[in-house]
């Protein structure tokens, strides 16, 4: 009922091919954006700082991996390392040229990550599936080794960590401990919205179509005149670009400093789980997956406390592990194609409700 499209006529190709062809969706997206942009006005620091900023950053990383794994069909386990490349590149750039706008460096660091990603994407022409996953695993271990063993990357810091210096944007402190949560949130939000929009356009255009063709059957795609190597490398580069920016945002606008352990294999797995649970080949899925994997444990951890239930911290942790595990299994059984597909089905049901057929 809510999704009844009766009366919404499409009179041009443009309106028929629109990304949100249904009026209700358009209203929905406007509402979501409005809520997102006004959130700091009514949410407290903890929500903005420990929930929303990480959620957006993980969503961006998940979009990055989704471009590669969901849309192009190349399994990658190097996400954490590519995020690390972005973070370390941004750190080096801003310490060498401190006067340049930090946002410029965050975006630039994506290009470093893209270059590294393209290099490690080279084997994708020859190897596929799980074997490719192992090849990208090599990237993960090699890059992590670099973050630990090359002191130049962290400016010879004794503890081997990178510390984010204070940087300003139009005289407002954006990074460092004195930046307010609101400022950081708006910077992250703007970047994530812009990059999601770009990703969406990429996916609906020629490049996205060639990626999907390669995913569905690469031989057929080749026969249709799609050159595999540039296409796959492009997917690796763009995906790594997104991951790199996410990594830079993570260190500069969320953590405020990082050790190499942040970019370990667990990080790669976390992002991979996000897109599997959220839905492969779906931008919406990236956000839903990030919400389920990242936000749900926090809600479980701090929820009982808000309700006045006092549990031991360790018990909460154990319960969280179990509940998240059970939910993952439940969602995968209920809908193996992910939360995004679940949303699709729900929408379909709503269209014909209350007269299902």
């Amino acid at each position: 009922m809510l999704y009844r499209e009766a009366g919404q006529f499409k009179t041009s190709y443009a309106s028929d091919q629109a990304i949100f062809p249904i009026l209700q969706d358009r209203i929905g997206i406007v509402v979501i954006l409005a809520v997102a942009f006004t959130l700091p006005l009514y949410a407290d620091d903890f929500i903005v700082n420990a929930v929303m900023i990480p959620f957006l950053i993980f969503s961006l990383a998940a979009i990055g991996l989704n471009l590669l794994t969901g849309y192009t069909g190349q399994l990658s386990l190097g996400t954490g390392a590519f995020m690390g490349v972005g973070a370390y590149a941004c750190y080096k750039l801003t310490t060498i040229w401190p006067d340049v706008n930090i946002i410029v460096w965050v975006v630039c660091s994506g290009f470093f990550s893209a270059a590294v990603g393209a290099v490690f994407g080279l084997p994708s022409l020859r190897i596929k599936g799980f074997y490719l996953a192992i090849a990208t695993l090599a990237a993960q271990f090699f890059l992590e080794w670099c973050f630990i063993r090359i002191p130049w990357l962290y400016n010879e810091n004794i503890s081997g960590a990178i510390e984010v210096p204070q940087r300003e944007l139009f005289n407002i402190i954006v990074t460092g401990p004195r930046a307010t949560a609101e400022t950081r949130y708006y910077v992250v939000l703007c970047l994530v919205v812009a990059m999601t929009w770009i990703a969406s356009n990429l996916m609906h255009g020629r490049i996205g179509r060639t990626w999907m063709a390669v995913r569905d059957m690469d031989i057929a795609a080749e026969l249709m005149g799609i050159r595999l190597l540039p296409t796959k490398l492009m997917a690796f580069a763009v995906s790594s670009f997104y991951c790199g920016v996410a990594g830079a945002l993570m260190v500069f606008l969320w953590y405020g400093g990082a050790e190499p352990a942040v970019f370990n294999i667990n990080q790669s797995f976390t992002i991979l789980f996000m897109i599997i649970i959220g839905g492969l080949g779906s931008l919406l899925g990236s956000f839903l997956g990030a919400a389920l994997i990242y936000v749900l444990p926090i809600a479980l951890r701090f929820g009982p406390e808000l309700l006045g239930l006092h549990m031991h911290a360790a018990t909460v942790e154990h319960v969280t592990f179990m509940v998240v595990g059970i939910l993952i299994i439940f969602f995968l059984i209920a809908e193996p194609a992910g939360l995004a597909r679940l949303w699709q089905i729900g929408k379909q049901k709503l269209r014909v409700w209350p007269f299902p057929y």
């Binding site: 903890f46 630990i148 503890s159 460092g176 953590y255």
Partner: protein
């Protein structure tokens, strides 16, 4: 039917919510002491006794004395799993509740919190861990690392080795192996070790153990077997310690030449290796045992009454007592802050002043019911660590035995390096705030 259930659920939630408000209103006349602990994950074997010790001492103060200065302590644990990300999340969740002090219990988390401390006005108490350079109070007014820094610890170990070889000058040509957890924590003492190696002419071999291989370590100990260093020093934590002790025993490394920093000195670090661990040495700054009046009070009022998660036979163990030491400092800092400000309910800013004027003499230790528990502690405005001595303890197969006197750190070597490191930290972090906090008179 379903609506009915829903109504019941909503009613329950409403009740609970009102209960929360009631408890929050109550909380205003108590001091909030958050404890960042870890009872899960690969570091839990070290984290659990520490968490128990910290919790139990503060809970004992609540039970026996009704808190500190008549104000109850609101003790709350937040599980970090020794994970930096979760630790920062914990910090974000507690920072709005006016915490008296934060104990990160991980060097990784400490490094992340150091820049935030001054901004949020919450002091960081990193007891004998964290950034060594933070001992320089001039540059780090909000960070405290008593009773000794890692660099102090390293210098004590070298001093002990020197004593055993017949003088520091006899170290020339010897080889010292250093096995460490490859994280901020394990790497922290390396600059000092290398400096001392240069000064005394011994060779250093580094064996890094990555977090994921800490339960294996076979390749590192094969290398040790090949290199045959005269002494082995360890900076390990969690599952790394018992594994290293086992591997050392398996490889026939002489255990009485294997020395760990204080964090390798838990009973559960030596015990799993059985009789082979006999002779294993570690530094310590808090004497284990349950024969102290304060610990007996814990036994009676907290553990005996079932108000703690500690099993009875674990009270007074080595790491447990380090947790107690940490809580003694929290309590003393709060007490000092109350005296300095005349307020009952103190804030983080007050507790920072309390920490800066903390002076626990031998007499004060006795008053606290902890006679002979630790060396006197003296923190000042300029010196946030105190650089207190520690002693060497040896595993006799069943318990820790004190085998040396209190060893003073080489302050002449450590001091200048700390100043240089602090200066470098400040320079690298452009915009690092100048100290504006005034110094209080020692009490």
């Amino acid at each position: 039917m379903k609506t009915k259930q829903l109504c019941v659920a909503i009613a329950c939630a409403g009740l609970m919510a009102s209960a929360v408000y009631a408890s929050k209103a109550q909380a205003e006349d108590s001091i909030y002491v958050p404890l960042l602990t870890y009872r899960t994950g690969p570091y839990a074997n070290s984290g659990i006794p520490i968490a128990n010790g910290m919790h139990d001492y503060l809970a004992m103060l609540n039970e026996r004395d009704g808190g500190i200065g008549g104000v109850k302590l609101n003790i709350e644990e937040c599980e970090t799993g020794y994970d930096t990300k979760k630790g920062v999340e914990c910090y974000e969740s507690i920072k709005g509740k006016n915490p008296a002090v934060v104990n990160p219990w991980s060097t990784g988390i400490t490094l992340q919190l150091i820049p935030k401390a001054g901004v949020d006005k919450i002091p960081i108490l990193s007891m004998a861990y964290g950034l060594s350079a933070a001992a320089v109070g001039k540059d780090f007014p909000w960070v405290f690392n008593p009773p000794a820094t890692y660099w102090d610890g390293m210098s004590m170990i070298i001093k002990y080795i020197g004593g055993k070889t017949g003088g520091l000058d006899k170290l020339k040509g010897k080889t010292v192996g250093f096995i460490f957890l490859d994280a901020g924590y394990g790497r922290e003492p390396i600059p000092l070790l290398e400096q001392l190696a240069k000064d005394y002419g011994f060779k250093v071999k580094l064996y890094a153990v990555a977090g994921k291989e800490m339960q294996d370590q076979s390749s590192q100990w094969l290398a040790v077997r090949r290199d045959r260093p005269d002494w082995m020093i360890m900076w390990g934590w969690g599952a790394m310690n018992p594994t290293a002790v086992k591997r050392a025993a398996e490889n026939g490394y002489p255990m009485d030449h294997f020395i760990s920093v204080w964090w390798g000195g838990g009973e559960d670090d030596a015990r799993p290796a059985g009789a082979q661990a006999k002779g294993y040495l570690t530094l310590n700054f808090a004497v284990p045992g349950e024969k102290f009046p304060a610990i007996e009070a814990i036994m009676k009022d907290v553990v005996g009454k079932g108000k703690s998660q500690t099993p009875k036979d674990k009270v007074g163990e080595s790491h447990y007592n380090k947790g107690v030491y940490n809580s003694v400092m929290i309590a003393e800092a709060i007490r000092n802050a109350q005296k300095l400000t005349g307020k009952k309910v103190v804030t983080g800013e007050d507790v920072r002043r309390g920490l800066e004027t903390m002076h626990i003499t031998a007499a004060r230790w006795k008053e606290l019911g902890l006679d002979g528990f630790a060396a006197p502690l003296n923190i000042t405005c300029a010196d946030h660590s105190g650089h207190q001595p520690a002693y060497m303890q040896q595993w006799d197969g069943a318990k820790w035995v004190k085998v040396s006197d209190w060893i003073q750190p080489m302050t002449d070597k450590v001091g200048p390096m700390l100043d240089a490191a602090a200066k470098e930290y400040v320079e690298k972090n452009s915009g690092w705030p100048k100290r504006t906090e005034a110094c209080d008179k020692a009490m």
